[in-house]
């Protein structure tokens, strides 16, 4: 059983299109995240939801819109795709409360914008 699963694994699309990535976790965690990993492998947080509520919104273009229908799901919709959006997008989840804020990652979605 995959703990954090995201679909699709690969996404190839043209500039200007709109696309969505889906994520689901079966770990019972309250917090979910979207990260972007660029070509230099730098992993940067984009958004975080805690129990369906947006709690972290880093400086991300508003073409990116996350949506959490319930605490086990976090989707990412991207409008008007640009070449610079090409990257690997990771979904992650973590259990609530400190001290453990350990991130459990999905396998990633490799987005290529042509």
């Amino acid at each position: 059983d995959t703990a954090v699963s995201q679909t699709p694994k690969y996404l190839v699309t043209q500039m200007g299109n709109d696309k969505s990535i889906k994520c689901e976790q079966n770990l019972g965690h309250d917090t979910m995240y979207w990260y972007k990993q660029d070509s230099k492998k730098f992993l940067k947080i984009m958004f975080s939801y805690n129990n369906k509520e947006l709690i972290i919104n880093e400086t991300v273009p508003n073409r990116f819109s996350p949506k959490s229908p319930d605490k086990a799901h976090l989707n990412l919709h991207i409008n008007s795709l640009e070449l610079g959006d090409s990257a690997v997008y990771f979904c992650a989840s973590s259990p609530s409360g400190r001290p453990k804020n350990i991130q459990y990652f999905g396998a990633g979605t490799r987005l290529s914008v042509l």
């Binding site: 917090t31 730098f42 947080i45 972290i56 973590s94 804020n101 350990i102 991130q103 990633g108």
Partner: protein
């Protein structure tokens, strides 16, 4: 500005030796520091966590140290094996109102047989 830097982009070592990776940070006050392993085409996987009041943590062949004065963590893999080849990421967890970790730039470790 805030920075998390890991010593080098790539590190090559001979099998059986101890690999030492560094994580240096500026303008952070982490309560915890985490280390992750990332293999090509996969998401990072958590390895170890160390608290600000702990000097050292061990798990099998892995050892992590945390020096809040130097603002540095060292990650050691003893008796390294080719299977240890991967990218290793440190991540800082600051005390704060919400759950967020910030990742370092990563070090790609290659263990040569």
């Amino acid at each position: 500005s805030q920075k998390i830097e890991q010593n080098s982009e790539a590190l090559n070592i001979q099998e059986g030796k101890t690999a030492t990776l560094t994580c240096n940070y500026t303008n952070y006050s982490p309560a915890y520091l985490q280390w992750y392993r990332q293999d090509p085409g996969r998401g990072p996987v958590f390895l170890l966590l160390i608290r600000e009041n702990e000097k050292e943590k061990r798990k099998e062949r892995l050892k992590v140290t945390f020096d809040t004065t130097l603002k540095q963590s060292l990650f050691h893999i003893t008796a390294s094996q080719p299977a240890d080849s991967a990218t290793y990421l440190c991540a800082l967890d600051e005390s704060g109102g919400y759950q967020k970790v910030t990742f370092g730039t990563g070090t790609k470790l290659q263990v040569i047989p």
